[in-house]
């Protein structure tokens, strides 16, 4: 359908306007007016009115009506295309014009021939049929439907085109109700109303509109209408005259076009959905791949773990050397296969984006110990030195992911070992960009291996790539290790790179990771150094090692602790140094075992046997080889201790102090606190006087001192103390400062001023202040009064041990006696120490108003004793707030202050921290002579109430459990360790599981541990690992 035949509405308006205006014009104006007006119709050049007869010219319109021929309108068309759309309208117009002209003629005729009116009427009537026929002809040649409706909406005229469109003959149509017959039922009512309004003149007749009609066959058509009203000469509406075009096809084409457009959009939408599905499918396929890898790894790991577990059991049986050899090879192959599977599992996790980094507190030493266990054995097999250059400035407690950090270290060191045939592998640490809360740790692994060409460096971090193709054949492995390490390091906020290398010159791999420093770590470090410092004073150590790097590392570590160090590169050189006089003697020799010429054990024997060496130092054998035969040799040679390479700073110091009999201070327990000294110390067997007015505090201190193998006398105030010191030569006095009757400062002054016959006993006896007033000026006051040292309340057992170590010197005789007594207790204490920390009953640890973890160690680490003290506190202090208030009201500030002071001490010792803070606040006010306001007492009352209620909820002290419970940190540490062992050393995992089962007996972790053990029993390692992870999460959350 052509869309070029657009009709300009404005032109149609002009035609209509002409029709309207024509009615107002005199007869002689009509034709000139319309000729001029029609000349403006688009496409028309000129219009001529001609009386010439109608011919077949396409654009001539005969104006004839009423049997009269008024001439023709002759259009000369200059633009047929522009004119075409108006042809029908012009025809319509011409018809209308003819009618108008005829009407005019009739009127004129009537005027002119008034006397012949009757005749004219008759003639007019007679002519009607002919007129209709004539009009009919013009109507019928119209290409559009022309239809007139009377005022009632009945068809009064219709042309041939109309009959064709409607599908009925003219006879059947004339008189038919248009709306009833041809308008769809749903529209009939509205249209009838509209038609009535039009014919009544209420609303104008819309000139143009489109309308759906239904033809005689029921077919729906769309018609485009042009309408005009038919009026009589008085202007009254007779009906309507309309022309209509069937635009059904055009509309259909338009709808098709629209539908096509919509369809296009639908297609696009459909395609988009398909693409999204394809994308989802691809993602699902990728996920499936990852899942498959994970499942496969799991499926392979389970039997592999079974193989390794059975091998472990098999090795514990007697077998022929040949079989053991075969099985060793099986074990090696199975282990490396497990390693490959683990790599693939990790890699699939990386690919799936499921590898996550944990943030938990850990000790770097623990990570390094595990690393040393794994790498040391491999290094030993290849006769390589595995060295760790530790930076002692690194905080011992960090926050990060110890397992993944260990994995990176294991991978880098494992690689280094793999590609090194002779020499050493050195792992070193450097602290970069450290702040108070976090640091960047640079890790470097240097080897003396095959090295690599620079052009190969870039390929190393690509998947499934080793330095060159031949490497895979030579060294095995998946080639995933470095990729995994790179990913892990990046997840830990760092990067990894390889230092420029060359074939044959070894390789150094560096990486960095971001770690947080555990809160209070720095403070603990300072405390540690403070404690360790005096113990290490004046120690001289000789390091004997043929490996320069190893010497250097050990010397560096010791120097960081301000220990005086010398080195020797061989046994004979060491012996020479030891023989030299004039220098202070060496206290300890750190002797490497494997050395060319003279092994360490041989050198040790020489030292022990050589009379030229007057002061025999303690010899500690340092060996990378923890083999029984080596240990036996060393023991026979008379060594005092062992260190296994790589040597970690904590182990080094621990061993040094041990062999020197200065106590084990440094072994870190689960929460990073130094453990109780469990071996005998120089103060063991001491006899001290404890001066303390508060009964509970006194009992705490006595219990603690007894646990440290110290005998204690008690005094309740300064006066009593002076009397007792006068009567008995104590090894030392622990003196409370603030006491009734006579305070500690006065008592000290009096003791110092005592004169005696047996020398300066009163002047020398160490008097250690125990004061809650831990302000600097209080310390100064204590020292000025003649006290030797001070301890802050609540007493910290570790701090007490350090101070006693510093001041109390016990004659050897008594020390030995104390050692004997200590041996008797050693069983229980050693078990506690081995378990890693002090134990507490679970219900005590769950207390909210008391920090049992703080409080129990303060009374010697005995939960039952702590429980007893809680009961005592419950008995003595339930009405402490009222009591204090009464004292202040009736006896004044000083009486109140004394009570408050005592209460503060008790709260502090028990670890009732909120109460302690509250009482401290009141105490400080009283010290400033200010009366606390009621709010303070209210708060105190409330806290006391809560604390007492909590104590009431505790079970009464029960008989000691056969096995001490694991505390939270201990449990966490062991679970992490179990996780690693299950994947790497099933035998050791079994032992740890047994330990764990007793450690959690009766707690809510008992069932979970039992399930883990069951899984491990059937080698369902992945299931066991899952359970460990959920238990870890649960324990952490509980905290």
């Amino acid at each position: 359908m052509s869309v070029a035949a657009a009709v300009d509405v404005r032109v149609l308006g002009q035609l209509l306007l002409m029709q309207s205006v024509v009615a107002s014009l005199p007869d002689n104006s009509v034709v000139p007016f319309i000729i001029k007006g029609l000349g403006d119709v688009p496409g028309v050049g000129r219009v001529v009115f001609d009386a010439t007869p109608l011919d077949k010219a396409p654009h001539r319109f005969r104006l004839a009506a009423g049997g009269k021929d008024y001439g023709t309108l002759d259009f000369s068309v200059k633009d047929a295309e522009a004119f075409a759309p108006y042809l029908d309208y012009i025809r319509n117009f011409a018809f209308m014009l003819a009618v108008i002209l005829d009407e005019r003629w009739q009127r004129r005729a009537i005027e002119l021939h008034g006397q012949h009116l009757e005749q004219q009427v008759v003639e007019r009537t007679a002519d009607l049929a002919g007129e209709r026929d004539t009009a009919r002809r013009y109507l019928d040649i119209a290409g559009v439907m022309l239809m007139a409706l009377d005022r009632d909406g009945r068809i009064s005229m219709i042309n041939r085109k109309g009959t064709q469109i409607l599908g009925k003959p003219e006879d059947a149509l004339i008189g038919t109700d248009w709306i009833d017959s041809f308008i769809p039922a749903a529209r009939q009512s509205a249209l009838r109303q509209a038609f009535s309004r039009v014919v009544s003149g209420a609303t104008p007749l819309p000139e143009h509109y489109e309308q759906r009609i239904v033809d005689a066959t029921g077919r729906e058509l769309i018609m485009a209408w042009n309408n005009t009203l038919l009026r009589n000469k008085e202007g009254a509406v007779l009906g309507t005259l309309s022309s209509a075009e069937d635009i059904t096809e055009r509309k259909r084409a338009e709808e098709e076009l629209l539908h096509y457009k919509d369809h296009l959009e639908e297609e696009v939408a459909q395609r988009t959905v398909e693409l999204a599905l394809a994308r989802d499918e691809a993602q699902a396929a990728n996920q499936a791949k990852s899942d498959f890898l994970a499942n496969m790894s799991h499926e392979i790991r389970t039997p592999m773990n079974a193989i390794l577990g059975m091998l472990y059991l098999a090795f514990n049986t007697d077998m022929s050397p040949t079989l053991r050899n075969y099985l060793s090879k099986v074990q090696g192959a199975a282990s490396s296969l497990l390693g490959i599977i683990n790599d693939i599992l990790d890699f699939s996790k990386i690919e799936a984006g499921k590898l996550e980094i944990e943030e938990i507190e850990f000790g770097l030493d623990a990570v390094l110990e595990r690393l040393a266990d794994a790498i040391g054995v491999q290094a030993e097999k290849k006769h390589l030195e595995f060295l760790i250059r530790h930076d002692v400035s690194l905080p011992p407690r960090l926050i990060g992911d110890p397992l993944r950090l260990g994995q990176v270290l294991l991978n880098l060191c494992g690689n280094a070992l793999k590609f090194t045939e002779t020499g050493e592998v050195e792992l070193s640490f450097q602290r970069l960009n450290a702040s108070a809360t976090e640091l960047t740790l640079q890790i470097s692994v240097r080897d003396t291996g095959i090295g690599m060409a620079p052009e190969l460096l870039g390929r190393l971090f690509q998947k499934f790539t080793q330095a060159d193709e031949s490497s895979t054949r030579r060294f095995g492995g998946t080639g995933l290790g470095l990729v995994i390490s790179k990913h892990l390091v990046e997840l830990m906020g760092g990067r990894i790179w390889i230092e420029a290398s060359a074939p044959g010159q070894g390789t150094t791999v560096h990486c960095t990771v971001q770690l947080k420093i555990a809160p209070h770590d720095e403070a603990q470090r300072r405390d540690l150094m403070e404690q360790v410092g005096p113990l290490l004073e004046d120690i001289r150590v000789l390091i004997v090692d043929d490996n320069e790097v190893s010497r250097d590392i050990l010397a560096g570590t010791l120097r960081q602790f301000r220990i005086e160090v010398s080195v020797a590169a061989s046994g004979p050189a060491a012996i020479e140094q030891l023989k030299q006089t004039g220098e202070p003697p060496f206290d300890v020799v750190l002797m490497d075992w494997r050395m060319p010429g003279m092994n360490g054990d041989e050198a040790t024997r020489h030292i022990q046997a050589d009379d030229a060496i007057a002061h025999k130092p303690k010899v500690v054998m340092v060996t990378a080889y923890g083999r029984d035969d080596v240990l036996k040799l060393a023991e026979q040679a008379g060594v005092a201790g062992f260190l296994v390479k790589p040597v970690l700073p904590s182990a080094l110091l621990d061993t040094l102090l041990n062999v020197l009999g200065r106590g084990r201070i440094l072994r870190a327990n689960g929460n990073g606190r130094p453990a109780l000294p469990v071996t005998t110390a120089e103060y063991a067997g001491a006899h001290l006087l404890l001066v303390e007015d508060n009964e509970i505090n006194r009992e705490f201190a006595v219990g603690l001192l007894h646990s440290m193998h110290v005998e204690v006398d008690e005094a309740e105030n300064g006066e009593e103390a002076v009397a007792k010191v006068r009567q008995h030569a104590y090894d030392g006095v622990l003196m409370d400062v603030q006491m009734p009757t006579m305070d500690g400062l006065e008592a000290t002054r009096r003791i110092r001023s005592l004169s005696t016959a047996d020398g300066d006993r009163f002047a020398r006896v160490p008097i250690i202040a125990i004061t809650a007033q831990a302000m600097v000026r209080d310390r100064e006051k204590a020292l000025a009064a003649g006290m030797s040292d001070y301890l802050a309340k609540p007493i910290d057992p570790d701090r007490l041990a350090v101070v006693l170590n510093r001041w109390i010197k016990v004659p050897e005789e008594r020390q030995r006696a104390a050692q004997a007594a200590a041996q008797r207790q050693a069983g229980l204490m050693a078990a506690q120490a081995a378990a890693g920390s002090l134990r507490a009953d679970a219900d005590l640890l769950a207390l909210k108003h008391f920090d049992a973890a703080q409080g129990i160690p303060r009374i010697g680490g005995k939960p039952e004793a702590y429980r007893k003290q809680l009961a005592r506190f419950r008995k003595h202090y339930p009405g402490a707030a009222d009591e204090l208030q009464e004292l202040l009201s009736y006896q004044g500030l000083s009486a109140g202050e004394a009570y408050c002071h005592a209460l503060k001490g008790v709260c502090g010792t028990l670890g009732a921290n909120a109460l302690f803070a509250c009482v401290t606040q009141i105490d400080e006010l009283l010290k400033r002579n200010t009366a606390p306001d009621p709010g303070h007492f209210e708060r105190l009352r409330e806290l006391l109430q809560q604390a007492m209620a909590e104590i009431d909820g505790l079970a009464a002290p029960v008989t000691r459990r056969r096995t001490a419970l694991l505390d939270r940190d201990g449990l966490l540490a062991k679970l992490v360790r179990l996780d690693w062992l299950l994947q790497n050393d099933l035998g050791a995992a079994e032992e740890l599981l047994a330990e764990l089962r007793t450690g959690v007996a009766g707690t809510d972790a008992e069932i979970a541990i039992a399930e883990i053990a069951e899984d491990a029993d059937v080698f369902a390692i992945d299931a066991a690992l899952d359970r460990i992870n959920s238990l870890l999460a649960r324990v952490k959350k509980k905290a």
Partner: protein, 207 residues
Amino acid sequence: MPHERHTVALGFADQTVPPGAHICQIFSADEERLDALMRFLRSGLEAGERAACFTEKLDETQLTNFLAERGLSCEELMESGALSRAGTSEVYFQDGRFDPDRMLALLRQFHKNSVADGFPAARVIGEMTADVQHIEGGSRLMEYESRVSMLLKEVPITAVCQYDANTFDGATIMEVLKVHPMMVIRGTVVHNPYYVPPEEFLAHHCS
């Protein structure tokens, strides 16, 4: 400045038009002309506008009565200057010639005075007689009408031009249609589809 209303009532049609409308009425019966004239004047006067008419044929008594129907006093309105009337030839054909420039100046002054005298708006209705076709300057009639359309955009006088279909020939009537933006057809004001904007009309017809 007079207060500008959005539309003004014409009196002879239901619709209102914007101030400054230029409307043409082709009439064939004198009653038709007079009816429109009186309604137009009365509508403006009721709204407080200044109103003027130029026609040779106005029965003063008829107008007085017509205005009085709404309580308006023709005499008083004329005295106050709110209403004025003059013969077509007296106004349009002063000195025996038709001078569009003078007429346009007159209209401009009429508006200016109306504003100065405090009228909120002004309106004019005038019958153009066929004599214009025979006097000097008469050929500039279409130019004049077209320029009136232009002027009224500037000075918003509401103007109705009455043309007798019986005295102007059909072709001229068609020309008249082209220079009036609005038409009155059987009591209805319509936008004239034949209207040619002045810029275009003047460029094509008067250059």
